[in-house]
């Protein structure tokens, strides 16, 4: 069976070789890079623009951004038919291809985030390394070794050195914003520059992707932050009154959530305006391919575009966050909906773009594999996507062992 045939249903007149070649993993890929970019921008709002209200969120989102970054190439590895040859992208990059930029952009970005984390946590590395020097037990020896490696041999913790660290953090956070936007803008460029695809080809694509990236990054950071804080509180209060803590602690947490949600709403309005502009423009100019795009957008994909993406994913969360008296539960519901909206936006772009034929007179329906029949249907099915979705939390859990991300 030819790759793609297992999950593609073809209707009317399509070319013989057309299938849904870019499936769920290519939906996950811009979702993950988007979350990376968004999480980083959120942390930079504190470090560069000194938004003090975001301090609590900043350190967390920086580390989370790194965990997400480690997950970002995984969807691609799942997607490639020759994953082991993926390294060819670094060895023989062909820069006329948008994907070839991946190697360079991804690694410069990873280097920037890793360096920033290093500067932010240098004191922790040095102090832990010194504390564990000569400690007994395998666990402590390994930990001590890891911290010594992480310190890169720079043990100077004088005031002057720490001031230098802070300056470096500000510099890297500032440098990281354009690179994060580039990382994700280029993911948008991958689609926007495919001239063969009537739905994808628009110069707005990179900008739309960046905006929705920031939205999704902020939303996921807020959500994970709430979950981590609540879990910790639950554990601390175990045996006493669970879920009941001092009102002041709740107050500061709620304050951070409210402040962050304002940025969320701002970026969301921007993202939705751009998407609607794109839609209106296509309808108004109505060039050759509009006939089939209209049937895809307004008929075949109506539910996933207007109900799931715009309705549940954008409109409802806007109402939730803009109505006064935001509560924690309402915020959590709103954030989940925002993430659903961004996921559906990626889905509607990637799958929607392949749901009509290059003949402009046929359709292809993506039947996502649920129960895997073989490795291929696992990788490009629901469980493959769930594996990818879970991976950043695994990385965060590992990083958290090294760098505790939430101070109580």
């Amino acid at each position: 069976m030819v790759h793609g045939e297992a999950w593609t249903i073809k209707e009317f007149f399509t070319y013989p070789n057309e299938y849904i070649y870019w499936s769920i993993q290519i939906v996950m890929y811009p979702l993950m890079t988007g979350l990376v970019a968004g999480a980083f921008v959120l942390s930079s709002l504190y470090h560069v623009f000194e938004r003090k209200e975001l301090k609590k969120m900043a350190k967390f989102s920086l580390t989370f951004s790194y965990a997400l970054l480690l997950s970002a190439p995984l969807p691609l590895l799942f997607h490639l038919l020759h994953p082991l040859r993926g390294l060819n992208v670094f060895f023989t990059p062909h820069f006329t291809s948008a994907i070839a930029a991946f190697g360079v952009v991804f690694f410069s970005y990873a280097a920037i985030v890793a360096s920033e984390i290093w500067f932010v946590n240098r004191r922790l590395f040095v102090e832990s390394a010194l504390r564990l020097r000569g400690a007994e037990g395998i666990g402590n020896k390994v930990k001590g070794f890891v911290y010594r490696m992480c310190s890169l041999g720079a043990y100077d913790l004088s005031d002057e050195a720490i001031r230098k660290d802070e300056r470096a953090v500000r510099f890297l956070a500032g440098l990281g914003i354009p690179v994060a936007c580039f990382l994700h803008g280029y993911a948008g460029f991958i689609f926007g520059s495919v001239k063969a695809n009537a739905l994808w080809m628009t110069p707005l694509m990179p900008v739309i992707f960046i905006m929705s990236a920031i939205v999704s990054g902020i939303a996921l950071c807020m959500l994970t932050y709430i979950i981590v804080v609540e879990l910790r509180r639950f554990r601390l209060n175990r045996g006493r009154k669970p879920w009941m803590s001092s009102p002041e602690a709740r107050g500061t947490e709620m304050n951070a959530i409210k402040m962050t949600s304002k940025y969320l709403v701002f970026f969301m309005l921007f993202a939705v305006s751009l998407e609607l502009l794109d839609l209106v423009f296509r309808g108004y100019t109505a060039v050759k391919h509009w006939d089939i795009l209209r049937t895809v957008i307004y008929e075949r994909d109506f539910f996933s575009i207007f109900v799931l993406q715009y309705g549940l994913g954008n409109l409802l969360p806007l109402v939730i966050f803009l109505l006064p008296g935001l509560t924690l539960k309402r915020a959590v519901a709103g954030l989940i909906l925002v993430l659903l909206g961004v996921f559906m936006m990626r889905w509607n772009v990637v799958i929607g773009g392949q749901s009509f034929s290059l003949t402009l007179s046929g359709y292809m329906h993506y039947n996502i594999p649920v129960i895997p029949r073989d490795f291929e249907t696992y990788k490009e099915g629901v469980f493959g996507a769930l594996t990818i979705a879970a991976s950043p939390f695994v990385f965060l859990w590992i990083l958290n062992k090294l760098i505790p991300v939430i101070e109580e």
């Binding site: 390294l87 670094f90 060895f91 062909h94 290093w118 720079a154 050195a161 230098k164």
Partner: protein
């Protein structure tokens, strides 16, 4: 301890150097920008020769002519002379060494590719004598009455 700020940069530079070192081992020396430039000609030159060495299977009628002279001259006199031998007899490959014998496709389906009637007046199909497969002796192989090498030579 003056330069600790640059330490992450050294790590990055070391990784870049490592990538270039690995590249020297992994990438074949003939990989590069060739005749068509970097945009369209960035590839491993040796691959061209690999494609040129791909096995030819269809040897065309001139390959058959040498041995099967009689059949060849018979069909070339008929309207079926436009059909290459290998369309019905299958690719010759290295026949007669390998395969020793070619399997002949005598199915109705093969004949119907041209002789199944289609009312498409704006094509050459209209010029070919067509039959309705359901009505014209549906259970009999075409070759039991018609000779493919001499279709106008009467029924057998």
């Amino acid at each position: 301890m003056k330069g600790h700020v640059l330490r992450p940069l050294y790590v990055v530079l070391a990784l870049v150097a490592l990538t270039f070192a690995a590249r020297a081992f992994v990438v074949p020396p003939d990989f590069g920008a060739h005749e068509k430039g970097y945009m369209y000609g960035w590839y491993r030159k040796g691959n061209e020769a690999e494609w040129k060495a791909f096995k030819v299977k269809h040897q065309t009628r001139s390959y058959c002519e040498g041995c099967h002279t009689e059949e060849y001259s018979l069909i070339m006199k008929s309207p079926h002379g436009i059909i290459n031998c290998e369309n019905c007899h299958g690719p010759a490959r290295d026949h007669p060494e390998a395969p020793l014998k070619l399997g002949i496709d005598k199915s109705r389906a093969l004949c119907l590719r041209c002789h199944g009637y289609l009312p498409y007046k704006s094509t050459g199909r209209e010029m070919i004598k067509g039959i309705s497969p359901e009505e014209h002796n549906p259970d009999v192989e075409c070759v039991s009455c018609h000779s493919p090498h001499n279709p106008l030579g009467g029924l057998s």
